[in-house]
Symmetry: C2
Subunit: 375 residues, 2 copies
C-alpha cells in the first residue's frame, strides 16, 4: 500500500447556471475501500457513445474553448438555449464520467481480500480516473492471461448484446434487427448471433460497413444508402422472421421502416384484417445517434410497440442471471466479446481538440480507450 499516492485524478463534467459546459481534471483524495469494497487502479476505460451524452451534455463543441496547462486541460463550451432547464438536476454539480473499465485491485476492505492483485473489470460510473472504489460483488475477475485492455469493455457492449438476445428469447421472437450495426456493439452482436444461431438483420449506412459485417459472417446486411434499401429490408426481415428490433439511432424514419417491413412480412400469411396483422412487432430504442425527431408513418396496424430500452433496468430485472451473463462474457472475452479501439488516450489527452472533435462526430465503429496510467 506504501506505493499508493495520496490523491487521484478524475475527468469531470460540469454544467453551470449560466449555460456553460466545463470539462476538466479534478484532483481528489485517494478513496479508501470500505468493507466488501476494493480500490481499483483503472488501467483502461472505453469511451462509449452513451458516455458522451452525459459528458458533453449536448453542448456546442464547435465553439469550444481550450485552456489550462497540458496536464490539466480545461474545455468550456456553450450549451443550447433551454438546455440549463432540461439539465437543472445537474447544474453546479461536478459529475464524474465513464461507465466501465478494468484495472488492478491495489487495496481492499475487509471481506474483499481475495481480489487483491487481481485484474478485474467493473461497470458503473467514474471510471475515467486514476483510481476508483468498487463493491467486490460488482467486479468481474478476468481470466488468467487477460489484460485490463482485454477486459475494459466487458460490461456495456457485451451485456447489451446479450440483453438483446435474452430479450428476444423472453418475448418469444425468433429473429432480430439491429441498427447502426457497424458499431463495436453491432460487430459483437453479429458474432454472438452466429454463435447462438439467432437470425440477425444488420442495418448500416454505407457499403464499406456492410462489407465489414459480411467479413465477420453476417448473412443479412441492409444498407440505408442503397436505392434498394426498403426492398432489401423487407426481403431480410421476411427471410429471418424478425419481429424484434433494437434501434440505436432513435431518430428519422428508420424505426418506422423496420415496422413496415415486419408488417409486410407478416401480412403475406394469415387472413386479411383492416387493423393490420396480429403479429406483434417490437422496436426498442436504445440510443440517440440521430437527434432528429422520429417519424412514424403508421402502416403497420395496431400490433406494434416502440419503447425505450436501457441496460441498467434490464440488468436490474435479471437477478441471478446477471452472473451467468458475466461468466459468459469472461469466457468469450477475446472472441465473441472482443473490442477493438481506434486509439488510446491519457486522461489529459481525452480533453484535447482532436479527441473532442472525434466524440462529437459520432463516427460509427470508432472507439477510443482511456489508459490513465500509460507511460
Amino acid at each position: 500500500m506504501s506505493e499508493l499516492p495520496a490523491t487521484s485524478l478524475e475527468l469531470r463534467s460540469l454544467v453551470t447556471a449560466d449555460g456553460t459546459l466545463e470539462l476538466s481534471l479534478v484532483e481528489v483524495p485517494l478513496p479508501v475501500p470500505a468493507d466488501d469494497e476494493v480500490l481499483v487502479r483503472i488501467d483502461a476505460a472505453p469511451i462509449n457513445p452513451t458516455d458522451m451524452i452525459h459528458f458533453l451534455a449536448g453542448a456546442d463543441l464547435s465553439r469550444a474553448d481550450f485552456s489550462g496547462p497540458a496536464d490539466r486541460p480545461v474545455v468550456t463550451a456553450p450549451l443550447a438555449d433551454g438546455a440549463v432547464r432540461r439539465l437543472a438536476g445537474r447544474v453546479g454539480t461536478s459529475l464524474p464520467a465513464g461507465s466501465e473499465g478494468a484495472g488492478t485491485v491495489v487495496a481492499t476492505g475487509t471481506g474483499a481480500e481475495a481480489l487483491l492483485g487481481r485484474t478485474v473489470a467493473l461497470g458503473g460510473t467514474a471510471t475515467y480516473a486514476h483510481y476508483r472504489v468498487a463493491n467486490a460483488a460488482f467486479c468481474l475477475p478476468l481470466p488468467d492471461g487477460a489484460t485490463a485492455k482485454d477486459g475494459a469493455s466487458s460490461f456495456v457492449n457485451p451485456l447489451t448484446a446479450l440483453g438483446m438476445v435474452t430479450t428476444l428469447r423472453r418475448e418469444g421472437h425468433t429473429g432480430l434487427v439491429n441498427t447502426a450495426a457497424a458499431s463495436n456493439l453491432g460487430q459483437m452482436l453479429v458474432k454472438l448471433c452466429l454463435r447462438d444461431d439467432v437470425p440477425l438483420v444488420s442495418i448500416v449506412r454505407r457499403p464499406e460497413q456492410a462489407e465489414l459485417l459480411r467479413s465477420l459472417g453476417a448473412k443479412f446486411v441492409c444498407d440505408t444508402s442503397a436505392r434498394t434499401f426498403m426492398d432489401d429490408l423487407i426481403a431480410a426481415v421476411t427471410a429471418t422472421s424478425a419481429t424484434l428490433a433494437f434501434d440505436a439511432t432513435g431518430g428519422g424514419a428508420l424505426a418506422s421502416q423496420i415496422l413496415t417491413a415486419m408488417e409486410v412480412a407478416a401480412s403475406t400469411t394469415g387472413p386479411f384484417s383492416g387493423y393490420g396483422s396480429t403479429v406483434h412487432k417490437q422496436v426498442y430504442v436504445y440510443g440517440g445517434l440521430d437527434p432528429s425527431p422520429m417519424v412514424l408513418t403508421r402502416s403497420y396496424g395496431f400490433a406494434w410497440g416502440l419503447s425505450g430500452w436501457l441496460l441498467t433496468p434490464f440488468l436490474a430485472g435479471l437477478g441471478g442471471d446477471m452472473r451467468t451473463l458475466l461468466g459468459r462474457v469472461a469466457a468469450e472475452l477475446t472472441t465473441t466479446f472482443a473490442s477493438h479501439y481506434t486509439g488510446e488516450l491519457s486522461l489529459a489527452q481525452a480533453l484535447n481538440p482532436q479527441a473532442i472533435s472525434a466524440y462529437t462526430k459520432r463516427a460509427t465503429g470508432e472507439k477510443y480507450l482511456i489508459t490513465p496510467h500509460a507511460a
Copy 2:
C-alpha cells in the same frame, strides 16, 4: 317464425382489383341459427369511427359516384394509388360492416331458446343488416325496459373505456390521459373515471369541446388550440400523476407532447439522470383520426413506451373478466355508458351523399345510428 322474410339485406363494402371501392346493399338468404345460436333482428347499430376505416377503405369519397334506385343505392369511389396492394387480402370479397348493435331475438337454435323474444346487444361484424345470426354466449341480454337503441353501443365504446381503466390498474398507473376526448367514448370515459375515482386528463381541440366535458364533471381538460396548451398539459399531468395515455389521433406531435409532459412531471422529483426519469411513461395508440405521420421529439429519456392498442386482443386476454365488464355495462347502460346520436339512418340512407360526407369529416362527437327496420 312465420312472419320472417326469406331474405335479409346487408350493407357491403367491396374493393375491386382495378382500384375502386363499391358500397351497396346486398340481398342474402335469411340466415338460420345453428345450435347455441340466435337470429337477431337488428333494430339499432351505431357507426363508430373504426367501422368506417374498413367500410370506406381509405377511398377518395370527394370523387364518389352515387347511383342505383333509392332503396338500392350504390356508391363507387376511387382508391388511392397503392391501396390495392395494401388491401390485397380483401380485393374481390364483398365484406359486411358494423361491429356492434342490438335488436330482438326472433329465432333460436337448440340450446338458445331462453333468449327468444329478448332484446339483446351483440358485438362482432355484420350488424349493418336486417338480420344477423350470433352465438348466444356473445349476446348481452339488456335489462328490463332498455330498448335496442339504449343497447346499440354496448360493446365498442363501453368496453374500450373499461379497457382503459382496467389497463391502468393492471399496469400500476394512477392517472390517465385521453385524446380526441370530446368523442362519444371520451364523454363516457369522463363519467366512468368520475365514478371510479380515476384522475383523468382529457385533451380536446376546441374550447366548446372543453366546456362540454367540464359540464359532465371533467376536472382536467386541455385544449390543443389554446396558446397555453403545453403548460396546461404539464400542470394537468402533474396534478393527476398520469403516466398512461390513450391516443385516438395516432398522428402529429400529440403523443410526444404527452410523453414530454409526463417526463417534466416525473423529473421534478428524484435524482438527476442523463437517461431521463426512471418513471415508465406509456402511450397506447387506439385510433388514427390524424392520418399525418406521428412525430416523436424524444426528450423523455428511455423509460417510455408507445404501442398500438386494439379492443379485440385486449378482450381475448380478459378471459372470464369479460362477463364482469359486460355485466357492468348492462347495469349502467343508461347512465355511465349512455350514448347519444346525431341522427338515425336506414340502411339505404347510410349510403346517401350527406351521410358519406359526414363519415369522412370525422367530426368528433358526431355519431349516427343505423335503424334498419324503422318506418
